[in-house]
């Protein structure tokens, strides 16, 4: 991920003014602790497509921007929720078990934030529970951000470091980005 605003944080050799300007946009985003706001996209989830095949002329959908994807604090909140709401009970720390791995490149139902949002809220037929009504949208978006960080889809300066727990995987901020691959939705008997 290299949006112009974030990369400013890493290029230190720019003029101070440039750094200030760029970092003012990005650092605030990354470090903000937003306690009372909802991500604007949360109220409705438009444009979730499971298939890239569209009849007729293809239309480009506006994808949802998950603001929490730029926010280190929200990502770490997502990590906390991931463990507290027992996501880790099935997906463990990304390697999977009852549920599929989340740290690899394979995405059955799409890797975009809105896809993951839909997966959490709606559930998926092969065992993924639906959390509709059980989690606030805000919490779901935080989870979405964290889930994406597990396979390195977020900027490394936003992804989390290790927890104060037994080390079982490399920390998210050191995880190389796994280019998302749409994997065939497997027959029910193959993969939950």
């Amino acid at each position: 991920m290299s949006s112009p605003s974030r990369s400013g944080c890493r290029r230190r050799r720019e003029l101070l003014a440039a750094v200030l300007l760029a970092a003012a946009l990005s650092a605030c985003q990354r470090e903000d602790r937003r306690f009372r706001t909802w991500p604007p996209a949360a109220s409705a989830i438009p444009a979730v497509r499971q298939s890239e095949l569209q009849p007729g002329p293809t239309t480009r959908d506006l994808t949802v921007r998950n603001e929490y994807g730029d926010n280190a604090w929200a990502v770490s909140e997502g990590k906390r929720l991931y463990n507290q709401f027992n996501c880790s009970g099935c997906h463990f720390q990304g390697g999977g078990g009852i549920g599929p791995p989340l740290m690899d490149s394979q995405w059955i139902y799409g890797s975009q934030p809105e896809n993951i949002f839909a997966t959490i809220v709606e559930g998926r037929p092969n065992g993924m529970p639906s959390f509709r009504g059980k989690l606030g949208n805000d919490q779901v978006w935080k989870l979405v951000a964290y889930v994406r960080s597990m396979s390195g889809l977020l900027a490394k300066d936003v992804a989390s470091g290790r927890n104060d727990d037994m080390q079982v995987r490399s920390q998210e901020q050191s995880t190389e980005k796994a280019r998302p691959v749409q994997s065939a939705v497997p027959p029910a008997s193959q993969r939950p």
């Binding site: 602790r33 507290q84 989690l135």
Partner: protein
Amino acid sequence: MSAVLQAVLQFPGAHSALKPAGPQARIAEGLWNSMYATAIVVFLLVMAALLWAAFRRRRAEEPAPDPARERRMRRVVAAAVGITTIVLFTFLVSDISAGRAVTATPGKDAIQIIVTGHQWWWEVQYRDSVPQRWVTTANEIHVPVGRQVAVELRSTDVIHSFWPPNLTGKRDLIPGNENSLWFQADSAGVYRAECAEYCGHEHAKMALLVVAQSPDSFARWLTQQRDTAHTPADSLTSRGQEVFLSSACAMCHSIAGTPAGSRVGPDLTHLAGRATIAAGTLPNTRGNLAGWIVDPQRIKPGARMPPNQLDPADLRALLAYLETLR
């Protein structure tokens, strides 16, 4: 319980190291009194000496430093240093003996409590040899007057510090380390305890109440706490229970006797019996509870409780249900 609420609403003095209500706090206060008095005396003496030295009347022509006077001064300075040392040594001896008294191990019949610090609330568990009689509550400790209470201190996240100033000094809750303290309330009352180690956003709003009551009423309280929640009696409260179980509430809170068993947030089995909500932040009234459920981030920004947009009728039912959890 309204007596407790009353006490909470007027709690100045309910969290003061200067109003000891337990043996350790009394020892600390005694030390403070003696050290304070000594300090005042020494301060006045030294300042008097300084001001006298500075402003004393001098002859117009003071001689240059003369050896005899320097020798006298040396003796005076040496004497002052000697006195200082003696005072300090006295302090040291009294401190160490006080320290021994404070850290003596609690007796066998002490009440065993586990206090676990969370960002930013306290989980409280009463132990019993029969596991079934364990009691889990939050942000409130009830103790019988005149009996030792042994507290095991744990933390699951960052370092917190448990401090009921009227009863005893503080002790840190350190993840990965086992700590404990004991205290004893000598008189009935409601005492406030604070988190005394900076623990993040809401360190300021992480308090708990220590309710010291007669052994009888404590025993009654403990027995009551062992009950599971009753099945709602009327349609409003049963609707409220349904709201609780089918919404985000049950994702974090537990109510014994229902399928809600999560431990992310405080156990609510006896919520209505507690004097405060939000870890000693607000009196437990219906209005406060409603405000806390709907928009907790206004009251305690950064707290882990998410906002809940509930239908007003659902909220009313939920509140009615929560109020039955005595």
